[in-house]
């Protein structure tokens, strides 16, 4: 069996393996009559669904505080809790409870963090990026605040890039100057030897024209 065959078999069984491992439920055993607590740092709304394998008896579960039973069936209960920040949900079971249940706690969490945005000012010639500051939400153009560490690293990277570019420009400038110095004499036309050759050629041409007899008479 080749390497590809092993990979193929592994790939085929991986979803089955994940499905199998995902279906394993490790139930927490608690003594009936006990209270289990769940703490929520930020919470504005909560519903609790209780699903049990055995019949849910009257008063088998009590949820506290600010919780009310919305509906119940033989095997399910749905509770609603008016939670607040730093909310501790307490679920108390009846001492007579003999059940195997799943609590599904769904809650909405409000993250209270200041909204920092970066404000851009556009002009025809340039774009100025201001320092991050707290502005109101009516700002037309805004982006998610990036922590200062990222700015620092970005600025360092940009500085390094600018320095490299400046170095390249300096090198190109020096090279240009060298080439300019090399080619300046020929471009200027002040070479005495060339001038002498040109003058000599004109002189020879004039002598040839003068000494030649007219033809056709």
């Amino acid at each position: 069996m080749g390497v590809m065959d092993v990979r193929t078999v592994f790939a085929a069984f991986l979803p089955i393996f994940l499905l199998f491992t995902g279906s394993i439920v490790h139930a927490n055993e608690i003594y009936a009559g006990s209270t289990v607590s769940f703490y929520f740092e930020n919470c504005i709304n909560m519903t609790v669904d209780i699903l049990c394998s055995n019949t849910i008896g009257d008063g088998e579960f009590t949820l506290y505080p600010n919780c009310s039973l919305l509906n119940s069936t033989i095997h399910t209960q749905k509770w609603s809790c008016s939670c607040t920040n730093k909310y501790a949900l307490e679920i108390t079971t009846s001492p007579a409870s003999r059940n195997n249940c799943t609590f599904i706690i769904t809650y909405v969490e409000r993250l209270l963090m200041p909204e920092k945005v970066v404000e851009y000012h556009h002009s025809s010639s340039d774009t100025i990026v201001k320092e991050p500051e707290l502005i109101n939400t009516t700002t037309i153009e805004r982006v998610i605040y990036i922590p200062s560490e990222n700015y620092t690293s970005n600025i360092e990277y940009l500085n390094e890039t600018v320095q490299n570019l400046s170095k390249k420009i300096d090198e190109l400038y020096n090279l240009t100057q060298e080439l300019k110095q090399t080619t300046e004499p020929t471009e200027g036309g002040n070479d005495p030897k060339a001038l002498a050759i040109v003058v000599l050629m004109i002189f020879i041409l004039l002598v040839f024209l003068v000494k030649s007899p007219p033809q056709g008479r």
């Binding site: 439920v25 490790h26 139930a27 927490n28 055993e29 608690i30 003594y31 009936a32 009559g33 006990s34 209270t35 289990v36 769940f38 504005i44 108390t92 079971t93 009846s94 001492p95 007579a96 409870s97 003999r98 059940n99 195997n100 249940c101 799943t102 609590f103 599904i104 706690i105 769904t106 809650y107 909405v108 969490e109 409000r110 993250l111 209270l112 963090m113 805004r142 982006v143 998610i144």
Partner: protein, 204 residues
């Protein structure tokens, strides 16, 4: 197409950014907890006797004993109760006595019951505070139990305030308490008895 791709992408990114910014502050989460409940009260017979020539007491499991004795003998059993829950629990303990023969009216087979616990290490005669529990839950004093000569099982409750109303015995969270019951039998009766201890409980 290439000319349109860049502005379309920019617009999509802008919309995605605006949408993300709008929902950043509210996050919906779900917590799954699987819980299996089991009985919070553990009852255990830890000792019984005296297991001499006149009385043979055998512990059957954690909450039952069998007594084989000569009439007129005294036997005892010692048991513990543990509350494993993290809340106090109101207990209604009952003792169920079964016999291979029918009980007499007023349960004359039982001459005296003496109760011991941490508060009564020297014992307390509770014969007159012991009640039969009828099928409707009403308590009847021991000597007035309606055992018409055919009943082979009786359920007894210790009503320590003697008002005939069942009151709970609250055990604190995590506590283990011990009890001992001494039973003096009447010489006029004989037989084999099975004594089962049960507790019914609720939250306070």
């Amino acid at each position: 197409v290439k000319k349109l791709a860049t502005p379309v992408l920019a617009v999509l990114l802008l919309l995605a950014g605006v949408g993300f910014a709008a929902i950043t502050n509210l996050i919906s989460n779900t917590v799954h907890v699987d819980v299996q409940t089991k009985t919070p009260i553990e009852i255990k017979f830890v000792d019984a006797g005296p297991n001499d020539d006149s009385v043979k007491v055998t512990i059957e499991g954690d909450n039952a004993i069998t007594v084989d004795m000569y009439a007129g003998s005294t036997f005892y059993f010692n048991y513990t109760v543990t509350n494993h829950a993290n809340n106090p629990i109101d207990r209604y303990p009952v003792v169920i006595v079964s016999s291979d023969k029918s009980f007499s009216a007023g349960l004359q087979e039982i001459q005296q019951i003496v109760y011991y616990d941490a508060n009564y290490p020297d014992g307390l005669d509770i014969t007159d505070m012991t009640y039969c529990v009828n099928e409707d839950g009403i308590l009847t004093p021991l000597r007035e139990c309606n055992t018409d000569g055919t009943a082979t099982t009786v359920e007894l409750f210790f009503d320590n305030n003697g008002d005939g109303e069942p009151q709970p015995y609250t055990i604190t969270a995590g506590a283990t308490w011990w009890y001992r019951i001494d039973v003096v039998t009447n010489p006029a009766t004989a037989g084999t008895y099975t004594i089962t201890y049960e507790e019914h409980f609720t939250l306070p």
